[in-house]
Symmetry: C2
Subunit: 286 residues, 2 copies
Amino acid sequence: MAQENYDSRRIDGKSLAGKIEAQVRQGVEKLKGEKNVTPGLATILVGEDPASRMYVRLKHKACERVGIHAEDRNLPESTTQEELLGVIRELNSRNDVHGILLQLPLPKHLDSKAAMLAIDPAKDADGFHPYNMGKLLIGEEGLVPCTPKGVIRALEEYNVEVQGKHAVVVGHSNVVGKPMAAMLINRNATVSVCHVFTDDLKKYTLDADILVVGTGVKHLIREDMVKEGAVIFDVGITEENGKVYGDVDFDNVVRKASLITPVPGGVGPMTIAILMEHVLTAAKNA
Amino acid sequence: MAQENYDSRRIDGKSLAGKIEAQVRQGVEKLKGEKNVTPGLATILVGEDPASRMYVRLKHKACERVGIHAEDRNLPESTTQEELLGVIRELNSRNDVHGILLQLPLPKHLDSKAAMLAIDPAKDADGFHPYNMGKLLIGEEGLVPCTPKGVIRALEEYNVEVQGKHAVVVGHSNVVGKPMAAMLINRNATVSVCHVFTDDLKKYTLDADILVVGTGVKHLIREDMVKEGAVIFDVGITEENGKVYGDVDFDNVVRKASLITPVPGGVGPMTIAILMEHVLTAAKNA
């Protein structure tokens, strides 16, 4: 089969993210023009972890692109829980901050659950607050986790029917698997959630019309595990010797998929674009 | 096969509820003795719907059995939203009320979502508040919906292994299906959620080690749809000519199940016992 055919199966996360960002940029300009409000995102980074610094930098760059005001609260490694909560309370109370993002993981001496709980749910850009997770579960999606929301947006953009389809989610993390399953259930897919305790994973993946994989296990999903024509989202990232791998063996699986995200350049850029969308939404609701 | 064999497969919800209630009664006495606190449940019933009145009465009777103080707020059909919210706020503020139960459905002129949101999550005996639903989704189960929690308790009491098993939930309501799925995922089952949009329901139910059905469709699940040895919970109730039917064709399905709840006398009594447990928990946490 010609290489061109496979190219058309690749979900281009960068281009999709660009499209979402263009919409957000328009929305930001409209909000500035009509209400004189500039959406603002405050990121909180405790310590100097290089990966976390990079993620925060990527988010700030995205803010620049779409016209969102970004504020960087880079706190020292030695920050106490009370100091951290103080910063969150201050940001909660400020009218010019519409989204608050606490970059995880925190240094071990800090209680990240308590910190996340302290964020005003209306400013919870990441969608991890229990209140927002609960709204998600009962089908009233507001600020929801960005990565699974990015998958939903991609399904919409590529006109993939979800209702009545068998969607299989591999991985049951709070960040991806569980909210992803809830969003697919809300859209009337038949949803199976698999994970490290699943017996015979292949039995489920082989039956998936839509397959979302987020486990962090390099090339867990091989060609013989997917159904002809499946739509596949690879949310996993493994770094090995400076190279980045997904949970899906893309080069071989692409032969059977009808649509599939690569790693990198798939779900990653979409996640950040959705974060921008959330800040705009929060600013509109404020 | 002898009738006795089938009897041993029946999950006796009444006896299980009795066991839970006995534990609650002990806990209530301990709390009274050690902290001089009597757990209190306030029920709010708006209007005169006979079924709702009966449900409230059953809950008050259970309170009596376990030593929980029960308060009945029976408001007239003409109650306004502001009056209802006023009652909820009053109950939120009272130290002697640890659980608040808003009996649904409310009369149509009232906004039940807004009313449920007004209940202090710490007093949310039914576990329907988004904050509690979100805690459930992220695996920090506190006050959770009573019916699925009753199923979990039965699985524990009957020593049914959940981890790694295929649990199939039929129905995706906010009251049963979605929280049930979340609880089973939290316990590391592989979970499939089916519903009215599912193509080929039988394909899923036939593969279920644990099957929970809550659709309100009389005898939806027939003998040819279940796996030999399955553990089956029937959460459905349909009334027809004064008789009550479950979602599972018990008389025939029992031949294949290893354990199965009847309707009535299965999940129903367990739900109320779990409600009592919740009020005790809320009183302990207060």
